[in-house]
Amino acid sequence: MGMELPIENAESHEMEDVNISDTELVYHVREALTASLTGDYDNYNQLVAVMHLNGRLGPDERALLETSLKALSGAVSYLDSVHHDSLLTSIFGMNMWNYEPDVMDALKGLIISLAASNGKYIDSCLSMLVSNFTPPYFILDKLTLPYGLERKHQVLSRVHAALKNIADLVPLSPLRLLPIVVQSMPNAKHKPERLKMIVIYVENMLTLESGAMGELVGSTVLMAVVDRLIDLDVEIEWEEILYDDSSKGIFEMELEDVEDDGELSRGSLSRKSLTGNVIAELLDSLLVQTFEHLESCERAGRLIEVFETLLQSFQITVLNAYKSKFAQFVMFYACALDPENCGLKFATVLADIFVSGVYPPLTRMSTVSYLASFLSRGKFLSISFIVSLLKRLVDWCSEYCKTQGGDINPKAHRVFYSGCQAIMYVLCFRMRSIMDIPRLKSQLLLMPLDTILKHELNPLKVCLPSVVSEFLRQSKAARLFTLSKTFIFNDLLESELSRGFGGIERLDMFFPFDPCLLKKCDSFIRPNFVYWSMVRATYDYEEENSSDEDAAEDFVDGNGDEVMDDGMGRSFDEHDLDEFDYSTLNKMSITPKNAFVCRFEGKLGQPTRMPSKIRPSTSPESL
């Protein structure tokens, strides 16, 4: 009686009339499978044909498919991996997104049975489930519609339930799942259509991380996500960021610079910046997703564990990636969520890497750039903590001064110079806040800044002139440090010497936590971020006394004095909050070129304002 079942055109009433029990169905399928071994392929082929039912299925076809799948799950032990290859291939080729929930359930059941029945099938089962992480192309665009959202939920909840079920039955399956998940991840080399899938794919990875298997697969999955962020990050080139359609003048200027370098031809530019924007959009979404995941981790009270993994992957990949632009904000946001633990840990680890001698110079230079930028920009860091880390940097530098001598040599002493620049950079941002707290002020005054900066290696001449002059201006006002001879930099953004110690990598101009120019991402970062426009310098003490009170009200932070009090030295109007859209992506703060500021001043005659928007923190001075 069950014999009719796999026949495609079996009429529905026939099936209703003949009340076939599940057991009988199972036996029928078993017979079909066994018969095919002896050469009788009729029923077997019908079964394979049922698996290929696709597209819009009528109720009969759906019922047929569902029952066949269910019956097959009872007959998995009769499947022969060689002989029934065609059937297995068609099962593993099925995509849950194409079916209704009842069929999805049957398919899920079959996959679980298959995975648990024989070691041979487990990889294929896991791959099949992982391939269901992403929808077919035709659904991708509909995912924002209610229908698409519902379908997505239906599929993904089943996929993850199945993965968990398999892990319960086959305890070692997560080990096999890991490489599959990591390898199937869409990468930047894929076509844009495939790359678009990455957002939903990463969503699935993060679901895995926070799910029951998180303990086993979490850290690897998270590292893979960070790796992919970096991959996408490096796809966006610094040059692309600089081109700005909205301000023609700058665009032309930068174009000239590029042509000077002979790096890119005019023709390739427009195309490149276009792909850059697609990738930037993706990266933005991915970062937001990661931020949201971090938030959920924080709510679940496991941010610290997750942060350990992030820190590890930061050291392996982000830190050594050449001038990563956005991926580091994952760390920044994690620290912002839990400054007490993560923030302290992050800064301490960075300082450890810098002062320890075992890392290569480039790593140490990039580390100290991260540290300086982090200490300057993290609104959530307490001033006393910043001072304690500054002290470590100063101590290292002064130790270095004792053992080294000789003339200025940007290349040989590049780690030292980068350390000095970091100290000055942080002080540009934080000097005023430190000076406001007597205890910290005395600590700062006790630091041997004099000996370091007046040492014969002469860091003041080598570090970025913009940082140095801002530092000198502030320290003079604060009576922290004075020089007998005056430095005149002629508004240089950088000098030959600073270029020398930065090397072709230009690590002298690397400030990783400059304002984030990804729109959605920035909304997460913004509340935790110290903009240069918010920094009160020591020298405008008197000027701003009147506006001080209002500013304090705007920026009151729950943590009181210890937290950076973010009064504004300058009005907020200068720093247009709404400016940060995609066009500002093209105004990334650090440029490899310096000619910019000088020319800019000449053209617009507003040197104190405009450059801040274009590259807010190449140096504090640019404001």
Partner: protein
Amino acid sequence: MEGLKVSDANLVVYVHPSMSNKISQAILRELSSLLFKFSETFEGVVLAYDVNILDKIAKILSGIHPYFGVSLKANLLLFSPKPNMLLEGKVVKLTQESIHVIVLGFSSAIIIDEDIREEFKYKAKHGDELYASRSNRRHKIKVGTMIRFLVKSFDEEILHISGSLIPAHTGSIRCLDKNSEDVSLTNRSTRKRREGEGETEMQENETFGGGECSLSIGHQTKKLKKHRSAKDH
């Protein structure tokens, strides 16, 4: 349970020169990479190790990377199931077609319906699925039961076992053990049941009129005074 053995191995671990200041860490990492994988050399899955460094002197290999070989004596706990061995495991899923078992918490095993002897009958009552013995109504297998089964084959790559419940000495461990004790201890009139950590559970079962498979012979109150060996738990 069979399939477990301890073996003494003389090993040489080649350590990368970059790890020369943390040798023991490097060695432990290397040995840990063996865990839960089938190793042809040891003919089994390494479950645990205890390691002694024999000599402070290591041989340095010539080459671009001067790895150095550290001689070790390691005590390895191996899991190497062979056909016809008896294994024990916990039932995690039960359907009419198969029983899924996990052995030692990491290795999965399946017993398909053809390998379940006729004595056991599949029943589904109130959503609870179980296999019940026809001859001994106390002998039941359901999710959570510890069972003893025979190995049919072992997939070394994924550590997947195919098992069988055909032989008479397979089935629920609690019941099997009780039956055998029963034979040897029938002359005792009173027995005290003691099940180690399972004691509370057993007492509860008594209150409800019999455990999963209590003693089948005799109707007098029996107390079994016996400490179970740890492996039963």
